[in-house]
């Protein structure tokens, strides 16, 4: 190819991080996820005296593990999730163990969806999903500030409307 041996080519990280509130949003999700098994265990432990120890022990372990994860992991996720919009393309990076970079050119974008779940609304966040004509090429940006997301969706929609062709 054109590159000589010894020049390493890498994908650079996208410019923007998510909104800082995404950390809180992820933490809340994890805590709720942890609460789902812990709360029933605690309630049962309170009611059933003979089995109390064997109910409260796993509850305590789960609660400790879940809380630790909720405190630490989102900080890390915040560093790994990045996004960028240029004049030509949408560029997103996610994951660490299976790192994934997705690039969708502006000219091929078909739809732009903004979704705000109940928790996201609480944190004033939104998820933007950009789809292309490929069944496997959708690009999702989770945890954006809702105003940034709305702005982004408007901008992307305008650009795609101005692009001729059926984007296949």
């Amino acid at each position: 190819m054109t590159e000589g041996e010894g020049t390493a080519v890498r994908l650079r990280p996208p410019r923007n991080t998510l909104d800082g509130r995404a950390v809180g949003w992820w933490r809340t999700q994890w805590l709720l996820l942890t609460a789902a098994p812990v709360v029933p265990l605690v309630v049962l432990g309170a009611l059933i005296a003979p089995a109390r120890f064997w109910l409260l022990l796993p509850a305590a372990v789960l609660a400790a593990a879940g809380t630790a994860t909720a405190v630490l992991l989102p900080l890390w996720w915040f560093r790994t999730h990045r996004w960028e919009i240029t004049e030509e393309a949408v560029y997103v990076r996610t994951g660490y163990f299976r790192q994934e970079w997705r690039i969708a050119p502006m000219s091929r974008i078909q739809t732009v969806d903004t979704v705000r779940g109940p928790l996201e609304q609480l944190f004033r966040l939104a998820t933007v999903t950009v789809t292309t004509a490929s069944a496997k090429g959708a690009v999702r940006i989770e945890g954006l500030d809702h105003e940034v997301a709305a702005d982004l969706a408007r901008r992307l929609t305008r650009i795609t409307r101005d692009t001729p062709g059926d984007a296949t």
Partner: protein, 506 residues
């Protein structure tokens, strides 16, 4: 029966549809009637059972024919200057309308019954997702079907004229039938045949007799040979079935290019099929080599097109096949003809992937082979030594097979740029060499697991609106794979790349 004649530009389906439906339902009913009668005979006595079943059969056939008569009465279609409309529905009137400019495929199918009556089923598709975008005219006369096909696919000639020949691109060579028995169809049909024998004998209550009869045949033979003989018998019937199926599917096969830029595949002995692919929708070809076929140096050619084989009716795998399993050279020539290229991109020399990719494949293969063996050995150690021997036998068979497949999978890996196309190849049981038009790439996905990162590998996926939606170069060298993607579609990936000093990991 007083039917207000439809306005002049509205057409009806062929009224013989009622006859066809009645005959088809009669066939199904006859098939179901035999086991039902036999079942009831033990309970009611034979004459009573026959009478009951006959009465039910007449009722069912009559109802089906009546329903179809109503459907015929309520169905009409119109080919307007801008749109194609279809009004149909048994109880609720369904109105469907397609813009003519969006129509991409017009496929004609005729099963033996329809062919006998000179009828065809026409399926008009826009190539968008979901069955909402397909109109089905079932049935019209063959002449009307051909007329619709011509009228709806006729366009201004947009394809570069004179670059490549029009007319016939490939016809069936009967010698290709030698690849039919080595396909995966043969063992599947063999198993199905064995299952069918047991099922039918169960209906007539003779399953035990059949098994006893087989047992008698082999009374003097050791168990091992009995199993070998039975498997051979199933395989032979599978091979016969595969040959028959091949003849039914591919008889009269022709691949043609029609004026106006449409590729047309016609084939079928009993059920004739005509599949048209608009070349403007063609984004490349996929040269598929299933293991058995590949051992004999043959390959199949599939079209990679946007908007094909997405609705339920068209999902069967052969819908986008341009060429059945044929000698590899022939497949490459047809690929070049189809793509209007001088040299087939599927035959291009590919960049091999780093040796680390081979190590990964060997590890996966050994894990897959040894996992069950270890489980068996563990159980054997705990329970009975017999299992240890079985584990040993499994390991002796599975490990070499896994290693050979892994090495073959590594050899198959490759990617390249060839003219207007990017080519990726992968797979061992089903090796696929996909040539995708670079202008048809509508995005990139790059994936790298922790293990890949340590080995300096990554997987580059070109997403596209056509075919499978994504074509991947697995485990390419990290730098080289990104350079490949950047060159394939100039300007798209380039702004996100950074070039640095030689690095060995993060």
């Amino acid at each position: 029966m007083s039917t207000a004649a439809p306005p002049a530009d509205w057409h009806r389906l062929d009224p013989r549809t009622v006859l066809v439906t009645a005959l088809v339902v009669a066939g199904v009913v006859a098939g179901a009637a035999v086991p039902t009668t036999l079942g009831l005979a033990g309970w009611l006595g034979l004459p009573a059972a026959v009478l009951w079943v006959l009465a039910a059969a007449v009722l069912v056939i009559g109802a089906a024919a009546g329903a179809d008569r109503v459907r015929w009465h309520r169905t009409r279609y119109r080919i307007g200057p801008e749109r194609v409309d279809l009004h149909t529905g048994l109880l609720i009137v369904k109105r469907r309308s397609l813009a003519r400019g969006r129509i991409r495929t017009v496929d004609l199918t005729a099963n033996p019954m329809l062919r006998l009556l000179g009828l065809v089923t026409v399926r008009i598709g826009t190539g968008e997702q979901g069955s909402e975008s397909t109109l089905e005219l079932d049935p019209v006369t063959r002449a009307e079907g051909e007329r619709l096909r011509r009228v709806l696919l006729e366009r201004a000639v947009t394809a570069p004229a004179g670059v490549h020949r029009e007319g016939e691109l490939a016809v069936l060579d009967p010698r290709w039938i030698r690849y039919a028995p080595v396909s995966f169809v043969a063992p599947m049909l063999g198993g199905a045949a064995a299952g069918a024998v047991l099922q039918v004998s169960d209906w007539v209550g003779a399953r035990a007799d059949v098994i006893a009869w087989i047992g008698d045949r082999f009374r003097e033979t050791p168990l091992l040979w009995t199993i070998v003989a039975l498997v051979l018998a199933a395989l032979v019937s599978g091979v016969v079935g595969a040959l028959g199926l091949w003849i039914e599917m591919w008889w009269n096969y022709r691949l043609e290019r029609e004026p106006g830029g449409t590729l047309r595949v016609r084939r079928g002995l009993f059920t004739s099929r005509s599949i048209s692919v608009e070349e403007a929708r063609l984004r490349g070809v996929d040269l598929v080599e299933p293991l058995g076929v590949r051992l004999f140096g043959a390959a199949r050619l599939d079209a990679v097109t946007t908007g094909l084989a997405k609705d339920h009716e068209a999902r069967n795998a052969d819908h986008n096949t341009l060429l059945p399993a044929a000698p590899r050279k022939r497949a490459d020539v047809v690929a070049a003809d189809v793509l209007r290229e001088a040299v087939a991109p599927t035959g291009a020399a590919l960049t091999p992937h780093p040796r680390a990719a081979r190590g990964r494949r060997l590890r996966w293969a050994l894990a897959a082979a040894l996992g069950p063996v270890l489980l068996l050995a563990l159980l054997g150690a705990l329970l009975t030594p017999v299992l240890l021997w079985i584990a040993l036998g499994c390991a002796a068979v599975a490990v070499p097979v896994a290693v050979v497949l892994a090495l073959d999978a590594y050899r198959g890996l490759g990617h390249a740029l060839s003219g207007r196309y990017l080519v990726t190849r992968s797979g061992t049981v089903r090796r696929s060499t996909a040539a995708l038009e670079r202008a048809g790439v509508i995005g990139w996905t790059v994936k790298q697991s922790v293990f890949q990162r340590r080995a300096g590998l990554l997987s580059v996926t070109a997403t596209t609106a056509a075919g499978g939606g994504a074509y991947t170069a697995y485990d390419a060298d990290a730098s080289e794979g990104l350079t490949f993607a950047a060159e394939a579609v100039p300007g798209l990936l380039e702004p996100f790349l950074e070039r640095g000093a030689p690095s060995s990991g993060p």
